[in-house]
């Protein structure tokens, strides 16, 4: 066989043997999770970097969605591929009761002592929410001259055809909670989501709505003009505007926007190094850093907000948030609601 062929063959075998030994992670390296887009930048720069500075070990940041992470942990309970999981209220309760995460109190995470008790209660004692945001209305100032002031007005005018609106698609992880919030707004509850489905059916049938599959998708749709207005997270919208997109405007609806708070927890089989990371997450300094990136409210009471921030953040008393019992019901019903959505609405 010619020399070049022999050389290639042996180098292939050689490298295969060499490489197969690589790709292992040291014990104190942890895998933490994050939502996509600017969230990931914030987590990487405010929390993961801080963890690495203090412990000398890396915190690998993975993006995805909580349900997917929960599935991955569930499939490997003894040696989970994910050490710190980010999840919404209902998902946190589900993860806790499903045995996927460890109980967290001020004992394991000292900084929890300074967290507003409201946010500890929101997740039934499974750690606490570390940030919260409102699901408000974002619009294009150039094409929408007369923006709506409430969610109901927004919905009615979408059906009437004033604009093209963008709503989250059912594949968006927080959609079950959003469905609840619509049910709550229109007179239903976690036990009766029919009002929400009726409203969304009308929206879908009007033909004036498109769906955003991911948080960045919405921004793309607004940028290219595919959508003129939509429901979106206040923090992310403000961050987008700050980047130089002052054509976007934000409306804080008068009829109580949905509040989502996000918790972070250690998965049960994960190493104790994760507690160190979680402690950083709830510390005032890194929390401020996170808040600056994302314009979200954070839950450590020692954090001081600037005037600009105080203006932007909507505080829980003006928002619609599920109680713990409701969160549990949402978690139990999520799969059924998703199936019902697929059958009746399909957006």
């Amino acid at each position: 066989m010619s020399r070049s062929k022999r050389w290639i063959h042996s180098s292939v075998v050689g490298s295969a043997l060499l490489f197969s030994g690589m790709g292992t992670v040291s014990a104190e390296e942890i895998t933490v999770t994050s939502f996509g887009g600017i969230w990931e930048t914030a987590i990487t720069n405010c929390y993961a970097a801080e963890y690495e500075k203090r412990t000398g070990h890396k915190a690998n940041v993975m993006i995805g969605s909580p349900a997917q992470w929960m599935s991955q942990i569930e499939a490997n309970p003894d040696n989970p591929p994910i050490d710190v999981i980010v999840s919404t209220q209902s998902q946190t309760v589900a993860a806790g009761e499903g045995g996927l995460i460890s109980r967290a109190t001020a004992k394991e995470i000292p900084n929890l002592a300074d967290v507003d008790p409201l946010f500890i209660g929101a997740v039934d004692g499974w750690g606490a929410c570390f940030d919260f945001g409102a699901f408000v209305i974002a619009y294009n100032k150039d094409t929408v001259k007369n923006p709506p002031t409430s969610i109901k007005e927004f919905v009615n005018r979408t059906i009437a055809g004033d604009w093209v609106a963008s709503f989250p698609s059912i594949t968006y992880g927080i959609m079950p909670d959003i469905i609840w919030s619509f049910a709550d707004l229109y007179g239903g509850s976690a036990d009766n989501v029919d009002p929400a489905f009726e409203v969304f059916k009308k929206i879908k049938d009007s033909g004036n709505a498109i769906a955003w599959a991911s948080v960045t998708d919405f921004l793309n749709q607004m940028s290219t003009g595919d959508a003129d207005i939509g429901m979106y997270w206040d923090g992310r919208a403000f961050s987008f505007i700050d980047k130089g997109n002052d054509w976007m405007g934000v409306v804080k609806p008068t009829d109580k926007a949905f509040m989502s708070c996000v918790a972070m927890n250690k998965s049960k089989g994960a190493p104790d190094a994760a507690w160190e990371y979680l402690n950083i997450v709830f510390e005032p300094g890194p929390m401020s850093c996170f808040s600056d990136y994302l314009n979200y409210g954070v839950t450590n009471q020692k954090v001081q907000y600037s005037e600009k921030m105080k203006d932007r953040i909507t505080f829980p008393k003006d928002l619609r948030a599920p109680s713990t019992a409701t969160s549990r019901k949402i978690a139990e019903s999520a799969a059924d609601w998703i199936e019902r959505w697929n059958k009746e609405i399909g957006m």
Binding site: S71, A94, S169, T171, E332, A335
Partner: protein, 291 residues
């Protein structure tokens, strides 16, 4: 002499011991057969917040709930549809490759294989941009006056079908081409000399002889389309749902693993059914060995 022809029986067989298959066979049994059996019997202890239901509940749903019947049907229909389109679109290209490309055959093969080197995400991404509300496809259709308002391709089945055809047609072309290549040109020549027209020669001589290639291509493309979920995930929109997509969504959104297991077993059954058909058909033709 084509490599496909069997070596005449009675050839020397002492060079290889039948035991050489043992390790590989064991590997496949342990890591291929057993996982599938494990999934079939659903012996996993899957604790989710969703209520633990017996598997029969899920199978009942899949076979009796109209929504799911529709999905199972769509899964098969999509695969068949895509395969048929690939045959229609790919056959002329295969003809061209074998009969008319001459010096350029190397280039043609390269151009066929090049897309297979790209990530499926890359190809699907490209289609997503093309089919967007303000994408090139809509722009063209508006310009040509075929539409007066942009059509939401991404919400309909059409974009998924196009995406799948795009990914799978090279397989079809290569399958057909490899069989076409082995057809003796003299047969066609004889037909022409005896007075048959071009079209008649094709229909009565060439096409039947190439059925083998179409059959192989059909199986490959059907099975690949059957199991694909990435294309549907990124291009399918709301209207078209298939079993692989639902399995993915169960894992990433709804988290009902039992349901996912039931769906995967149905999908498996479809694939095995197709494989069985393939074995029956090919055995009848007398062509044995590797597909």
């Amino acid at each position: 002499m084509m490599a496909k022809n069997r070596v005449k029986s009675g050839g020397f067989t002492g060079a290889v011991s039948p035991w050489w298959i043992a390790l590989t066979g064991l590997f496949l049994v342990v890591f291929f057969v057993l996982p599938i059996v494990n999934n079939l019997l659903n012996t996993n202890d899957l604790a989710t917040l969703a209520k633990q239901r017996p598997m029969s509940f899920y199978y009942h749903k899949l076979f009796f709930d109209p929504y799911y019947i529709r999905i199972v049907f769509d899964t098969v229909a999509l695969s068949v549809g895509v395969t048929v389109i690939c045959i229609i679109i790919g056959y002329p290209v295969a003809m061209f490759l074998v009969r008319h490309s001459g010096r350029w055959s190397g280039l043609v093969i390269f151009l066929l294989i090049a897309p297979l080197l790209t990530s499926i995400i890359m190809r699907t991404f490209g289609w997503r941009v093309l089919f967007a509300r303000r994408g090139l496809v809509n722009d063209f259709l508006l310009w040509a006056d075929i539409l007066d308002k942009p059509f939401m391709f991404l919400n309909s089945a059409s974009s998924a079908v196009v995406g799948l055809v795009h990914v799978l047609v090279p397989f079809m072309v290569l399958s057909i081409a490899s069989v076409l290549r082995s057809i003796d040109l003299q047969l066609e020549e004889s037909a022409r000399i005896l007075g048959a027209s071009r079209i008649k020669t094709f229909l009565r001589v060439t096409f039947p002889l190439s059925l083998d290639g179409i059959g192989t291509g059909f199986i490959i493309v059907f099975l690949l389309a059957n199991g694909s979920f990435v294309t549907l995930l990124l291009l399918g929109g709301g209207d078209l749902k298939t079993l692989p997509l639902l399995i993915y969504q169960q894992f990433t959104i709804s988290r009902d693993f039992q349901f996912a297991a039931a769906m995967s077993n149905v999908l498996l059954a479809i694939a095995v059914g197709c494989l069985y058909l393939q074995l029956r058909l090919i055995r009848r033709k007398g062509v044995k060995g590797a597909a």
